[in-house]
């Protein structure tokens, strides 16, 4: 009974946090892209456009939902379900932090840890292909079908280098459980498997990240949605919440890829440098810095209302910084902070790349996967196995 209650609570927390992250990820993306392009981005709904995600949800829910008569209705409706369910499911094995004790219960900040966690994520993501392939097929539209075919061919092509890139750090960790993979890495930069001797996994890290970009159909691999040739690709004929479902699946996949990268290569919840060197003070220092900035601008206000709002924010920030200094809070929050910092940085990279790189041509994209990434991943695996065996 207790077990079920704890599981349900965890599931509810993870689901709620994930949904919020997905909604705000889109706001962050629009803001960052806008600033890269010297624009303002969303700024009308709420301060700095912070309520924009809410407005988007209301808009999408109240939009008219067309089901064109030429589609295959059952599969047309099934496709967004498949896409979003599979995208959400893989988050259930991600460890967000170490073991904590809350209200007398000892529990891990992870929904569940599987012996075959890595394979579970791969299996679920390989099922995600069907959502896209079916959407393209069932829409009965040339753009959608071509987009669906391209997209699923791209996803399966990049799945191979991705699995090979995952196998290399596993030679060091010798486990498929995500929790144990993190535990096998140490609490500083050179004990993370990306730089860990004897076999630094820098190459697998890069391959994994590139393959991750392709798996999530992001720029520069967003061929399925190449607007100038394929309109909107596989979701051309989708509207309203069904369109939103595909959108959400894409963002959820981005979150999963970022989490997996930080677990496999960047030490998961392990800090950048050991606690003995003061890594627990990084988060309070960041909040204190934010607080000082707010205080400075509050004392030198640009607008009249800043005189009142910014000092309030400064007080909140300083309060958080102080709270984080308390050892019981730090024990719970610090692993979460480091995990979120790594995953957040990777998510930022997704957006950064979108603002920077142009799109591949389709033949280049397939050639890149099969003729470059795949052999490099195989060689990297061989070299890693030799290095691990020698030392």
């Amino acid at each position: 009974m207790e077990f079920i209650v704890i599981s349900l609570v965890k599931a509810a927390i993870v689901a709620a946090v994930l949904m919020t992250t997905l909604a705000y990820l889109q706001w962050v993306e629009r803001k960052v892209i806008a600033h890269i392009q010297l624009r303002m981005g969303p700024s009308r709904v709420g301060p700095h456009g912070l309520l924009q995600p809410l407005a988007d949800v209301i808009k999408l829910i109240t939009k008219e939902d067309l089901i064109p008569p030429h589609v295959n209705k059952f599969f047309y409706l099934l496709a967004p379900f498949l896409a979003v369910t599979m995208a959400l499911l893989s988050i259930s094995v991600i460890p967000f932090g170490s073991e904590v004790e809350l209200f007398g219960y000892k529990t891990w900040m992870q929904m569940t840890d599987l012996n075959v966690g890595v394979l579970f994520v791969l299996a679920v993501s390989s099922m995600g292909v069907y959502g896209i392939a079916l959407a393209g097929w069932a829409s009965n539209n040339k753009y959608a079908l071509l987009g669906g075919l391209r997209s699923s061919a791209q996803m399966i092509s990049y799945e191979l280098p991705m699995s090979l890139a995952i196998a290399a750090p596993l030679l060091l960790a010798n486990t498929l459980s995500l929790r144990e993979i993190v535990q096998s890495q140490g609490d500083h930069l050179f004990a993370w498997s990306i730089f860990k001797l004897p076999a630094p996994q820098l190459i697998s890290f890069v391959i994994f990240l590139i393959a991750g970009f392709a798996e999530t159909n992001r720029v520069p691999f967003d061929l399925p949605e190449a607007e100038n040739e394929l309109v909107a690709g596989f979701h051309t004929e989708y509207s309203s919440m069904k369109f939103a479902a595909f959108f959400m699946a894409e963002y959820a996949n981005m979150v999963t890829v970022s989490c997996m990268t930080s677990i496999l290569f960047l030490g998961g919840w392990q800090p950048l440098f050991p606690v003995s060197l003061g890594s627990n003070f990084v988060a309070p220092a960041l909040f204190a810095l934010g607080g000082s900035l707010c205080l400075y601008h509050g004392l030198h206000p640009a607008r009249r209302k800043d005189r009142y709002t910014l000092p309030v924010f400064a007080a909140i920030f300083f309060g958080i910084a102080l709270a984080l200094l308390a050892p019981p809070v730090a024990r719970v929050v610090m692993p979460l902070f480091w995990f979120a910092a790594k995953a957040g940085f990777l998510l930022f990279c997704f957006i950064w790349v979108r603002g920077t790189l142009p799109r591949f041509r389709y033949d280049q994209l397939m050639g890149f996967a099969w003729k470059f990434l795949f052999p490099v991943a195989v060689l990297n695996l061989l070299v890693t196995s030799l290095l691990v065996a020698v030392f």
């Binding site: 949904m19 939902d65 499911l89 012996n115 829409s139």
Partner: protein, 118 residues
């Protein structure tokens, strides 16, 4: 059932319920005013010349079949990776032989032009 899978089923239920609830909720709120033009297949404003059921290039098929083959190969690498330290040099020899045979196949397929996308 091994430990830890029950939570997966719980989360699966949530992951299925979420899109169901939102899409059904949206159905209650949203307007519905379909018209003939709205319901046409989208072809950039031109009337669709034919429907999408044609035949497409065989390259997708080749990619898919190569993927199946190499996917079977990679799945073997995972039990190998978790046993690697206990196997020692014996394991290195095993994996070198295994991968060498496959690299031969890969190079051959490349030479035959199966990886070209023209």
């Amino acid at each position: 059932m091994p430990d830890g899978y029950l939570q997966i089923f719980i989360f699966l239920a949530i992951a299925i319920a979420f899109p169901t609830v939102t899409i059904l909720a949206a159905k209650l709120i949203r307007p519905s005013a379909p018209s003939i033009t709205k319901l046409e297949a989208y072809e950039c404003g031109i009337k669709a010349a034919s429907d999408s059921r044609g035949r497409y290039t065989v390259r997708f098929y080749i990619i898919a079949i190569l993927f199946v083959i190499f996917d079977v190969e990679t799945i073997f690498l995972f039990p190998f990776a978790v046993r690697y330290k206990t196997l020692g040099w014996f394991g290195v020899a095993e994996i070198v032989v295994f991968l060498a045979i496959l690299i031969v196949g890969y190079v051959w397929a490349w030479k035959k032009g199966a990886l070209e996308w023209v």
